[in-house]
């Protein structure tokens, strides 16, 4: 077989099975942050739902918010669990998890629809706007953190040490 055993770019790749990463990773922190932000914006969407269709609209918007936050948290939990097994397991778990999460979303929404509390427009608007808006805000925060690690927000801790980031302005 041509190329077998030769030193090339392909043979330099580490065997995926050798790489095991810790379960507690950045995706869980991101998902928790997204859920926290979803809680912050929830009053606005509940009021919007109430304005559009009264109590039923507010309940529909609330269920959509819970679904969005739950979807993020479940996705992060699946990735964290799978990555601690192996990278091959990660691939399977993410794709299977995608199908399972979409199925769960459909089952929960259809079950909720049959209760009589369901109003489609507030539910749909909240689901899409929250998902995309939260992700856009989180991406902005993450990209700022990656570009300037010294600016990364820390919970209740002020870092007085000078930044070692070469891109930060020097006095």
């Amino acid at each position: 077989m041509a190329g077998a055993g030769t030193a090339g770019p392909v043979s330099a790749v580490t065997d995926h099975a050798d790489v095991v990463l810790p379960a507690e990773g950045p995706e869980r922190e991101i998902a928790r942050d997204l859920a926290r932000r979803a809680a912050w914006v929830s009053p606005a969407f509940l009021i919007l739902g109430a304005v559009l269709d009264g109590v039923n609209g507010a309940v529909s918007a609330g269920v959509a918010l819970v679904l969005v936050a739950g979807n993020f948290l479940l996705g992060a939990a699946i990735i964290g669990r799978a990555v601690s097994i192996s990278l091959n397991a990660l691939y399977g778990a993410v794709l299977l998890g995608y199908v399972v999460r979409l199925g769960l979303l459909a089952v929960i929404a259809l079950a909720f629809k049959s209760t009589g509390w369901f109003v489609a427009v507030p539910f749909a608007v909240t689901l899409l706007v929250t998902h995309l808006g939260l992700l856009a805000a989180e991406t902005r925060r993450v990209s700022m953190t990656l570009a300037h690690p010294g600016l990364a927000p820390s919970a209740g801790k002020v870092d007085d040490t000078p930044s070692t980031d070469p891109t930060s302005p020097q006095e």
Binding site: A12, V13, T14, D15, H16, V19, L21, G25, P26, E27, I30, A31, N71, F72, G75, A76, I79, V83, L87, L90, Y91, V94, L95, Y98, V99, L102, L105, A106, A109, L110, K113, A120, F123, A124, L127, L128, H131, L132, L135, E138, T139, V142, L146
Partner: protein, 85 residues
């Protein structure tokens, strides 16, 4: 089959076709994001296998990429919910 169709009213037929269209739309809308998520995760796994020390950054980008790609499936889901009788 034709007997069954002949017994249905015009409204029932339309509702049935709407349900079929909604289900088909949701299924078709899930194909593209599935391919996209596979690409995102595959490349992230390659990055983590090549450079395990930068796995944190790869995992962060991978998670956000998956979530953004999933938004397309959510649009299909919303259409499904709106079309379902």
């Amino acid at each position: 089959m034709l007997n069954v169709l002949a017994q249905t009213g015009p409204g029932e037929m339309l509702e049935g076709l709407k349900a079929i269209g909604a289900g088909l739309g949701y299924g078709l809308a899930a194909i593209g994001p599935g391919i996209g998520i596979g690409t995102v995760v595959g490349n992230a796994i390659s990055a983590m296998a090549r450079q395990p020390e930068s796995a944190g950054m790869a995992r962060t980008t991978m998670f956000l990429g998956i979530a953004f790609t999933e938004a397309l499936a959510l649009i299909g889901f919303v259409v499904f919910i709106l079309l379902m009788p």
